[in-house]
């Protein structure tokens, strides 16, 4: 793909509408109608474009923060499908369903098409002018900018803009993020996001880390998992043990799923360490002292896990090394979340996994493009500031806090207190609805940008210690609507309002990016002698820029002194059940809820579609007299929602679970009014060290409303039964098969 940019952009123009017409009319037309259809030819056309043969352009997925590298399949100027980039170390040519749905974010009929000032469509000049007016009247510290996670050149530009405003009020917010994990990892391993080598482990014990579903970088982990399960591996087929109160997708794939009492995961980890010690693993003295009280018997009573099982787990871990122990959302969403995570990390240290299956990852050499990761604690700060009236102008980009903040935080009320709220948005979501000015964003398939993933996977055979990468995001087709803009373009325009001189050379974000990349040609893997255009085109066509990263290191030792495990909070007699907001692989925090493929693809475990549900253990349900399809009210101290009850055996009897991401009041036709928003009833309880919202600390009570519906789901009336058919989904015990010679 060595065409200059002009041609390429030209090519991205949609070729006529003939192609669409062809696709649409299906089986109806059997007659041959000469001269009815119009076949539009290009005016000019690069030689690599052949009608009816697809071109692939590399880009980066924007559906979640894992930053998978994708290829857009482009035909006649339309992007049809996203496929994985085979050269990517992250997703290696694979894609998840969420990523596939990116095209629906792009083609979504509910995208905002013009800037909206107080609900009225305005021109960009007017919109940007309004921002300028408002900013001119306020001081730097009165401006707050709320973003989601960011990285790459947009991040750099954003940093410049905040500097230009003289504001330090950047709040990076993600509704669902491994924020506690980062802090705990920093303590335990010395780095926030080490590289996990599931593929090298013989045993993986995951404490609520849904790494196949929604945790950190699921496509990468799923591939590692596939390796891990191969009997032909030198280590043999790996064993997965999942410990969590509510079965996640990963739990559903475990060899052993342990439904633990919510909040006691750390204790179980210590119990396992204790059992390992009794089984003959040499424990450092401090650790041995710390875990001495956590005998399997006691832990068994507290966690609800039979102590034989703890011992068995310890035996397994002892016998099969290396192993990998992961701590995830389910273990961390408590007041004592980071202690849980630390206790779990300690298990890795005890087992000697650190350095083997927990590897150091490198970071990008340019700190200004390194990812800013979001957390919920920053939202608290913003909320407090807004409540105190500190901020006059608030920007919001890539976040939807009005939807995802607990109602008890009263975020919306505080948000509207600000004088002028600007939302950069693709949809008219809840936050955009509350904003004064809405700036329509390009979709990720129309936009330029670069992405640096937080979880840095390394390709096979590379120098993994120093491998870091930057991925390109480039337009896969011409803009659908002329009046949307990329976030980079908007930031640049805003910067020009502040520092016109510095940025006058850059016509748009593309030229900024182009310039920035070529300036750093050598660091990005080029030679000084390379022709600029050729280098640019080659870089773009690869989509991935390997960087020589800054090597990190994992700390080999962990002191038990860090570990003070406070007991799990008990339940309330008025609210006897623990609410576990479930993060599903496709819905995540709900930002993609308006993509119909995701709404229609069944939840893997309950197979429910197009609605939220309340998972209740059959025993609990029997106690409460609840049957499947009953509309139940889930009430916490902070509010209540109604949804349909689904009897689910994979949940702790003292817990109920409701998926997050549903219950939008805005966004669009596919998301609006579908399900209930469980974020709204979360109690404002925070993790004690990080200040993150403790997602799993809400206690609820369940009551029937008397209504009953037929749940819309994929599974039939038998639920998961095979009705005695001998050979449908067959399972075999590992010792009954010979996996070592399989092809």
């Amino acid at each position: 793909m060595k065409e200059n940019d002009f041609n390429r952009r030209d090519f991205l123009k949609v070729l006529g509408w003939g192609g669409t017409a062809v696709a649409l009319s299906g089986c109806g037309n059997t007659s041959i109608q000469d001269g009815q259809e119009i076949v539009t030819s290009y005016v000019t056309l690069p030689s690599y474009v052949i009608p009816s043969i697809a071109n692939y352009f590399n880009s980066t997925c924007a559906q979640c923060d894992a930053g998978c590298n994708i290829m857009g399949r482009v035909r006649e100027g339309r992007v049809l499908k996203a496929e994985g980039n085979p050269n990517s170390p992250i997703n290696r040519g694979k894609m998840c369903g969420l990523g596939q749905s990116g095209v629906q974010a792009h083609y979504n009929p509910d995208r905002i098409r013009q800037p909206l000032l107080k609900g009225q469509a305005v021109t960009w000049e007017a919109a940007l002018g309004a921002i300028n007016d408002k900013l001119n009247g306020v001081k730097g510290e009165q401006v707050a900018f709320l973003t989601g996670g960011m990285s790459g050149h947009v991040q750099a530009l954003f940093g410049n803009y905040m500097d230009a405003l003289g504001s330090k009020n950047h709040f990076s917010y993600e509704a669902i993020s491994p924020a506690v994990l980062r802090v705990a990892n920093k303590k335990a391993y010395g780095m926030a996001m080490p590289r996990y080598r599931i593929d090298k482990a013989r045993v993986v014990v995951s404490f609520g880390a849904d790494f196949l579903g929604a945790w950190v970088s699921p496509v990468n982990f799923a591939q590692q998992y596939a390796q891990f399960r191969k009997g032909t591996r030198p280590e043999g087929r790996g064993v997965l043990v999942q410990v969590e109160p509510k079965m996640t997708l990963t739990g559903a794939n475990a060899d052993s799923w342990i439904g633990i009492r919510p909040g006691t995961e750390g204790m179980l980890a210590l119990g396992v360490i204790n059992a390992l010690g009794s089984a003959g693993i040499k424990l450092p003295a401090d650790i041995a002292a710390a875990v001495k009280d956590y005998t399997p018997e006691r832990v068994g009573v507290n966690t609800g896990v039979p102590f034989e099982r703890i011992n068995k787990l310890a035996t397994l871990l002892k016998e099969r090394s290396p192993s990998l122990v992961l701590a995830g959302d389910a273990a961390e969403g408590y007041v004592n979340g980071s202690q849980n995570a630390l206790a779990i990390a300690m298990l890795n240290h005890v087992l000697g996994n650190v350095g083997k299956t927990v590897e150091a990852a490198a970071s990008v050499p340019f700190p200004q493009i390194a990812p800013t990761v979001g957390s919920r604690s920053s939202l608290n700060k913003l909320n407090d500031g807004l409540a105190a009236g500190k901020y006059k102008v608030v920007f919001s980009y890539g976040a939807n806090p009005v939807f995802s903040a607990p109602a008890a935080m009263k975020f919306k009320d505080n948000f509207v207190k600000a004088d002028f709220k600007v939302a950069f948005a693709q949809y008219l979501d809840e936050t955009a609805q509350a904003a004064d000015l809405v700036l329509p964003l390009d979709s990720a398939m129309e936009d330029w940008g670069t992405v640096v993933p937080e979880y840095m996977a390394a390709p096979e055979g590379s120098d993994a210690d120093t491998y870091a990468q930057m991925s390109f995001r480039q337009p896969l087709m011409q803009k659908l609507y002329p009046d949307t803009r990329g976030v980079g373009d908007i930031l640049l325009a805003l910067l020009k309002q502040r520092k016109a001189d510095e940025y006058k050379d850059f016509e748009d974000f593309y030229s900024y990016l182009h310039n920035a990349v070529l300036k750093n040609k050598v660091a990005l893997g080029g030679k000084t002698t390379d022709d600029d255009d050729i280098f640019w085109d080659e870089t773009l066509s690869k989509g991935i820029v390997p960087l020589k990263g800054v090597a990190g290191s994992v700390s080999a030792k962990m002191s038990a002194a860090d570990l003070k495990l406070s007991p799990a909070t008990g339940t309330d007699t008025n609210y006897p059940l623990r609410l576990i907001p479930a993060v599903s692989a496709s819905m995540r925090d709900g930002r993609n809820a308006n993509e119909p493929w995701l709404q229609e693809s069944p939840d893997p475990l309950t197979t429910v579609v197009w609605d939220s549900w309340v998972e209740i253990h059959p025993k609990t349900a029997a106690k409460l007299g609840i049957a499947e399809g009953d509309i139940v009210e889930v009430a916490s101290k902070s509010g209540s929602i109604k949804s349909q009850a689904y009897l689910f055996p994979g949940i702790h009897p003292d817990a109920v679970s409701v998926p997050v991401g549903y219950g939008h009041e805005g966004m669009g036709r596919y998301a609006k009014g579908v399900g209930a928003n469980v974020f709204s009833i979360l109690d404002p309880v925070f993790e004690q060290e990080t200040g993150e919202l403790a997602l799993n600390e809400t206690n609820v009570k369940i009551s029937k409303t008397g209504q009953r519906v037929i749940i819309v789901k994929e599974e039939g009336p038998l639920g998961g039964s095979q009705d005695g058919r001998p050979k449908i989904a067959v399972q075999v015990q590992a010792d009954k098969v010979d996996l070592s010679k399989e092809v």
């Binding site: 894609m95 009929p109 493929w597 579609v609 197009w610 579908v674 998961g720 399972q731």
Partner: protein
């Protein structure tokens, strides 16, 4: 012509399949060197639905919405089934759930083919179970006779139904295959539009189709690489090697290995005993009993 054809090729027309010969009746003109087949490793499958969404994207599947879904009118060619381990007392969850991706099994002796009154579904020379949308008159007998229930009927005219492909979503539609109108049966085609291109390119280059020339959309997407697709007649292909290693033979309704107790292989085909000779081999899910 056809009567003379009948008399000339009588014996050919009396051949049965798949036991007697290797595929297409016209094998003299077209020596059947391709038999598309699949192997799905249930031990690798995580049930994540990526394949299903990829199928929606590739094959112009309509999103029917909640109301029609509730009537069971969903159009997922690839569906993920979730089973639980069963015991006397109900479902057991200690070893997770069992996921099973289920799509058209492209049976060699497909029950659906014989019953179509207009011959809209046939067996192709490359071993697929073809479904010709514009020939279909919608008697739905094929679906009635399909043991796997993997055929999906267009109960409504989805191209013109509200919110199925509202503009501009229709621009995502793949022009390589038709968008089905109402009253037509459809099903998984093993991404025929892709195999077509692969065969075409191989022919132009004057070589046989090689392993890796073509991937189905589900295979391409599957993060765990649970799906293997390829030419079963090509001994070099991965799928053929898998079938061979698992000692699963296409033309047997009861595999030899199953006659011996305690074989340590895990390949099987679903509902093999009904003798449709499915082209999809599943590999049993493995679970460790040590924990």
């Amino acid at each position: 012509m056809s009567v003379s054809n009948l008399l000339e090729n009588w014996s050919k027309f009396r051949h049965t399949h798949p036991v007697e010969d290797k595929g297409h009746p016209d094998w003299e003109a077209y020596p059947s060197d391709i038999k598309w087949a699949m192997a799905i490793d249930l031990d690798a499958c995580t049930g994540c639905n990526a394949c299903s969404v990829a199928c929606y994207a590739e094959n112009n599947l309509p999103v029917v919405g909640k109301e029609k879904y509730s009537h069971g009118q969903a159009m997922h060619w690839m569906r993920i089934e979730r089973y639980w381990d069963e015991s006397e007392s109900g479902f057991e969850v200690d070893q997770g759930a069992r996921f099973l991706p289920m799509m058209c099994q492209q049976c060699e002796a497909a029950p659906c083919e014989t019953v179509c009154p207009v011959g809209a579904t046939n067996h192709t020379e490359d071993g697929l179970n073809s479904q010709i949308y514009n020939r279909c008159i919608g008697s739905r007998y094929c679906s009635a006779n399909c043991p796997y229930k993997v055929r999906y009927f267009n109960w409504y005219d989805y191209p013109t139904t509200k919110d199925v492909w509202p503009s501009p979503m229709n621009e995502q539609l793949n022009p390589d295959l038709s968008v089905r109108s109402k009253g037509v049966m459809e099903k998984c085609t093993f991404c025929k539009q892709r195999t077509y291109v692969a065969r075409n390119n191989a022919k132009t280059e004057g070589r046989p189709v090689q392993d890796g020339d073509v991937q189905t959309a589900c295979q391409e997407a599957c993060p765990a690489g649970a799906i293997t697709f390829g030419n079963l007649y090509d001994p070099e292909s991965k799928v053929a090697q898998k079938w061979q290693h698992q000692q699963v033979e296409l033309t047997k309704e009861k595999q030899d290995k199953d006659k011996t107790e305690g074989n340590r292989l895990r390949g099987y085909r679903i509902l093999e005993e009904l003798r449709p000779y499915p082209s999809v081999m599943y590999l049993e899910r493995v679970r460790e009993s040590a924990v």
